[in-house]
């Protein structure tokens, strides 16, 4: 039998291309481990108890930590979540349970477009909206910018989760003579709760690492501050300021902050996914 060289060539070329695609996947995964690994190695040597409990020290003064910005991040992100979650979930309820006509498709379209607005633009909007009116940087304005970023994420993920609740459950409830609004509150919301929690945690993780909108809204602060009307330190903003500084000990702190930030974001991400996997979405049957 004669060897079919053309076929062989096609086969070798194909195998090569598929090999390249494996390589591409490998490269992406290695990038992840490279970045995470490097952050871990650089950060772990700078992280100690002081980092979590002390205020920052001036340049050249050893020791100190970023306790205020860790707490500040939690406050700023927390206030953002308080603003975005109720509006987001209520909107998602409307879209999935009532929304049919032109109005609903408009809201859906607008929130999808809003989801693509760059973080820095959200910062500018919060600046124009709050900072210029209050005449000072404030934690609250930072929360407004983060809420603006969270809102469309929460709307999208929640609406999708509500749609995975089977209609048979809604029908079962209607057939028991339960009004629609009660059905939504006690059947749809409850059944979707696992997914809602996951979606919300992911949204928090997504904006929690954001520095761009906070640079000129919540600004920064070297001291303790719990007043939302005043500038407040946050972990991402401190990380940025320290990393571009020329001082060795500040750069060290930036790596420590990076490790803590990545740690928090990844823990949120992984726990959200595990929570969903464990709680699962129990369909009937």
């Amino acid at each position: 039998m004669k060897t079919d060289f053309r076929y062989m060539r096609r086969k070798i070329f194909g195998t090569m291309m598929l090999g390249l695609s494996i390589l591409a996947a490998l490269a992406a995964v290695s990038m992840l481990f490279w970045i995470l690994g490097y952050t871990f190695i650089k950060g772990i040597s700078a992280v100690n108890l002081d980092f979590f409990t002390k205020l920052p020290t001036p340049v050249g003064v050893p020791g100190g930590g970023l306790a205020n910005s860790i707490v500040g991040s939690i406050i700023v992100v927390g206030m953002a979540a308080l603003m975005a979650i109720p509006v987001g979930i209520a909107t998602a309820i409307y879209l999935s349970e009532y929304g049919r006509g032109f109005f609903a498709s408009t809201v859906r379209f607008v929130s999808d477009v809003l989801a693509g607005v760059p973080a820095i633009v959200a910062g500018i909007v919060a600046y124009a909206l709050v900072v210029t009116r209050m005449h000072r940087f404030s934690a609250f304005s930072g929360s407004v910018s983060l809420a603006l970023l969270m809102l469309p994420i929460i709307i999208r993920s929640s609406e999708e989760i509500f749609r995975t609740v089977p209609d048979t459950l809604r029908e079962a409830s209607f057939a028991l003579g339960v009004p629609k609004w009660k059905t939504i509150l006690s059947i749809v919301l409850k059944t979707a709760s696992g997914g809602l929690v996951t979606g919300t945690i992911l949204a928090i993780a997504r904006v929690g690492g954001e520095a761009a909108p906070l640079l000129f809204t919540s600004f920064s602060n070297s001291f303790w501050n719990f007043n939302p009307g005043q500038p407040m330190a946050t972990l991402p903003v401190d990380l940025f300021n320290y990393s571009i500084s020329p001082y060795q000990d500040w750069q060290q702190k930036a790596w420590a902050a990076a490790l803590v930030l990545v740690g928090m974001v990844l823990i949120l991400n992984i726990s959200a996914r595990l929570y969903l996997a464990r709680k699962g979405f129990k369909r009937n049957g």
Partner: protein, 252 residues
């Protein structure tokens, strides 16, 4: 026997397609009425019109009258939510609420509408689980999720759930078609028992089942009621050629 439900000139649509054409029939009290007919003939649409579930589907609507105890279910000012408490419904696929335990599922229709003490919940759940012939099988696992039961048990749980609202009528849409033969037999026995208290309308595409349990049978075809009479008459001496073709299996 008095008529529990009288259907007069019922038409139903999905958007532009008409699924039911001028249905007229009366359902006597404390009896089992079977609805038979080939797939797609409008059986589900028909019983969903009775408790006004049809209108919950996007773009679906209907007209005509359905008189329940002398009162039009579609009358102006009638709240469909209240009507549905008098007309319990069981679906083709068992659909217990996945977030609720067996006990909670049994009383779901009540606790979703009003508060109940723990003691009341226990008592009511037991009462209706017994009535649905499920109690003995689940009494030791009342706090397990409803979805952990077998398909046949889930369906009886759904029947208990429907009964707990104290309806007068039970509507069932192919309640046994997703179940094994043993579970099916249990459901059939249960329906025969329940007839004493309730008026039952059951959709089935299984003619033996209709013949076994029902007092009256209605044969639907292409959205029309072709023939309606006592089950004996329909299965032994139908007056319409199409009914005869269907029950003798000469039909698609």
């Amino acid at each position: 026997m008095a008529d529990k439900i009288a259907v007069e000139g019922l038409n139903a649509w999905f958007g532009k397609t008409q699924a039911l054409h001028n249905i007229n029939m009366a359902v006597p009290e404390n009896s089992i009425t079977a609805i038979i007919g080939p797939s797609g003939c409008g059986k589900s649409t028909f019983i969903r019109c009775i408790n006004r579930m049809h209108e919950e589907i996007r773009g679906a609507y209907s007209n005509g009258k359905i008189i329940l105890d002398g009162e039009d279910v579609y009358g102006s000012g009638v709240d469909p939510v209240l009507i549905r408490r008098r007309l319990g419904m069981v679906f083709q696929k068992p659909n217990p609420f996945p977030t609720m335990s067996i006990k909670e599922n049994a009383v779901a229709g009540i606790i979703l509408n009003k508060r109940m003490s723990r003691h009341e919940i226990e008592e009511t759940a037991e009462k209706y689980l017994r009535r649905a012939a499920l109690w003995d099988e689940v009494k030791d696992q009342l706090n397990k999720p409803g979805v952990s039961l077998s398909g046949g048990q889930q369906q009886r749980l759904c029947i208990a759930r429907a009964l707990a609202v104290e309806p007068e009528v039970l509507l069932a849409d192919e309640p046994a078609s997703a179940l094994d033969p043993i579970s099916t037999a249990k459901i059939e026995d249960l329906f025969t028992d329940l007839k004493e208290r309730y008026t039952i309308v059951v959709v089935t595409h299984n003619m033996q089942q209709a013949a076994r349990i029902s007092d009256r049978t209605a044969f639907f075809l292409s959205g029309r009621l072709i023939e309606y009479g006592t089950t004996d008459k329909i299965f032994t001496n139908p007056s319409d050629k199409r009914t005869e073709d269907y029950i003798t299996g000469r039909f698609g």
